[in-house]
Structure formats: C-alpha cells, structure tokens
Amino acid sequence: MKKLKFLLPLAIFLGLVAFLLVGLGLNPREVPSPLIGKPAPAFDLPRLDDPAQRVRREDLLGKVWMLNVWASWCAACRDEHPLLVEMAARKIVPIYGLDYKDTRAAGQQTLARFGDPYVASLFDADGRVGIDWGVYGVPETFIIDKAGVIRMKHIGPLTPDVILNKIEPLVRQLNG
C-alpha cells in the first residue's frame, strides 16, 4: 500500500507524458472538414484559360474527380506541383484546379512555367467558391465521387505517401 503511494505520482506523470506525446503528433491546423460525406457545394466558374467557358458542379457528376485548390502566390502549391503533374501523367484521376484568389495572368503564367496537370482550372478570383468549400489555407485537395459527394479532403501540400496510400486506393474503390 505504501509502495503504491510512492508509485502514484510516477503513474500520473506517465499519464501526462502519454497525453503530451499524442498531442505532439496532432496538428491543430488540420481542422477536420464537416463536408466529408456531404454533397460538394455548387459552383459555376469560368475557366482560367478561357473566361468564356464555364464549369459547373453538374458538369462533373458521374465521374470520380479531384479538386486541387491552388494559387500562383502559394509557395506550398509549388512544392506539390510536380506530384500533380505526375498524377496527371499516370491518369490516376481527372484533376480539376481551383485557382483561388489569384489574377488570371499570374495563374496562367504559373501553369505555363511549371506544367498544367489540370483538366481545367476554375478561376475563383474573389474566393467565394473557396469559402463555400471551407477552404482556409492553400493548397487543399478534395476527392469527389460519382454522385458529387466529397469523400476525402487533404489540407496542405500532397505527399507521395498521401497519393499512394490514400488517394489511389480511394479512387480505385470509388471507380470499382
């Protein structure tokens, strides 16, 4: 009994350490999106390369697609850009871009310089569609299924690990 009393502070300390250890692994910047499992918010936006052409949510129903929110001013987007180009080359899933709060010239220039992995980039100059999609930091990536429901959201730049272990299996499952 006496021994147990000595051990009690140690046990409490170890408990604290366990909590702190778990806390270290959590990222408070990654706010879980309430949109997962919900229908993707509607949008009707002009294409970045051609203001005359518009893309609507309804146009994309019936296929699994990926929405990648990017901007020419976003440094982290540049980090993930080669991965997107590679994904597009491997035809894993059609990638649509959302050029968030950008200017047309700067957006087009970025794609001309670093390659264009997007089937189409939607041009969201004032960021309203971004707000509708719950975007709060760029880059963000969504996977949308055939029924137009958001199935996954990744916050921050994509990594080879995320693409290989999360996106690819999910897309296969949704297409299968």
């Binding site: 910047r29 706010v31 999106s33 309430p34 949109l35 960021g127 707000i131 999609w133 709060y136 930091g137």
Partner: protein, 154 residues
C-alpha cells in the same frame, strides 16, 4: 490626475480605432455592428486564437465580407452561424455547442473540481480521526518541550 489623462487618451484612442474599422461600411453602421457581433463569435482558421473580427488575415476579411453580404441578403444571425459551421465545423465557434462529443469539454473542469474537493474532504476527515501521536512532532514546539519536566513521548 495622471489616471484621468490615461483614461481620456484610451477613450479617445478607442473612438479613433472604431472609426477606422467602420470606415468601409459607413453606409450602414447598424449592419456593420451586427456583422462585427457575429464576427466575434467566429474563429479565424488561419490565426486560430483570434476571432474573424480581430484578425487581419485575408481569410478573415473575406469571411467578414461574406457575413456582411448574407446580412444584406436578409439572413438571420443563426443562418450565418449555421452556414459557417457547415463549412468549417464546430471548430469555428468560440462557444462550442453542448452535445455528445463536447460533454468532456463542458463538464470536465467541473468534474475535476468536484473530484479534487472530494479527495481533499476524504483526506481531511481521515486525518481528523487519527490520534495526535500519529503525526510527527512539530519541530517549532521543541524548545517549550525541552523547558518542561516531561520528555516528549517517542
């Protein structure tokens, strides 16, 4: 006197900063006030310890404009809060709602307090039942004991 000067300066400064913030929507101060009241309930997701009313982050400015537009459209406060929660989750609310997943958040501190008081009460009651010789003698009391004829009981 000095205190009055400080208070006066602060009051003037407060008026000045408010005037500055209200400038863009001077057309409708009532709307602006409503927008700011809602904005103080919402967390800015870029700088997480600020409300979107305090923050100068671009997203906060956009969200304030969104709130303003919705108010102009005639939406109620609750509709705006619901709109934000549907997109960013309960995390945007500075006053999280009371529900299953937030019980620990709401009642945890009270539980800890009650638990602590309970433990304290138990220990104190057990101590009050112990006989005095269970405690170590008070070292400060020793000189008086030495002066007396009887030796302290060991």
């Amino acid at each position: 006197m000095a205190r009055w000067i400080v208070i006066l300066t602060l009051a003037l400064l407060a008026g000045w900063t408010q005037a500055k913030e209200a400038a863009p929507a001077a057309e409708d101060p009532v709307l602006e006030a409503r927008m700011l009241r809602i904005a103080t309930e919402l967390r800015c997701l870029v700088c997480q310890n600020q409300t979107i009313a305090d923050s100068h982050a671009e997203l906060a400015v956009d969200l304030r404009n969104q709130v303003k537009d919705m108010l102009k459209r005639g939406d109620s406060d609750q509709m705006i809060i619901d709109y934000m929660t549907a997109r960013y989750g309960d995390f945007v609310l500075y006053r999280p709602p009371l529900k299953g997943t937030t019980y620990i958040l709401w009642f945890g501190p009270a539980l800890l307090l009650v638990g602590g008081l309970g433990a304290l009460l138990l220990v104190l009651r057990r101590r009050s039942r112990l006989s005095p010789d269970q405690f170590e003698p008070d070292p400060d009391a020793e000189p008086f004991v030495a002066d007396s004829d009887t030796k302290p009981a060991k």
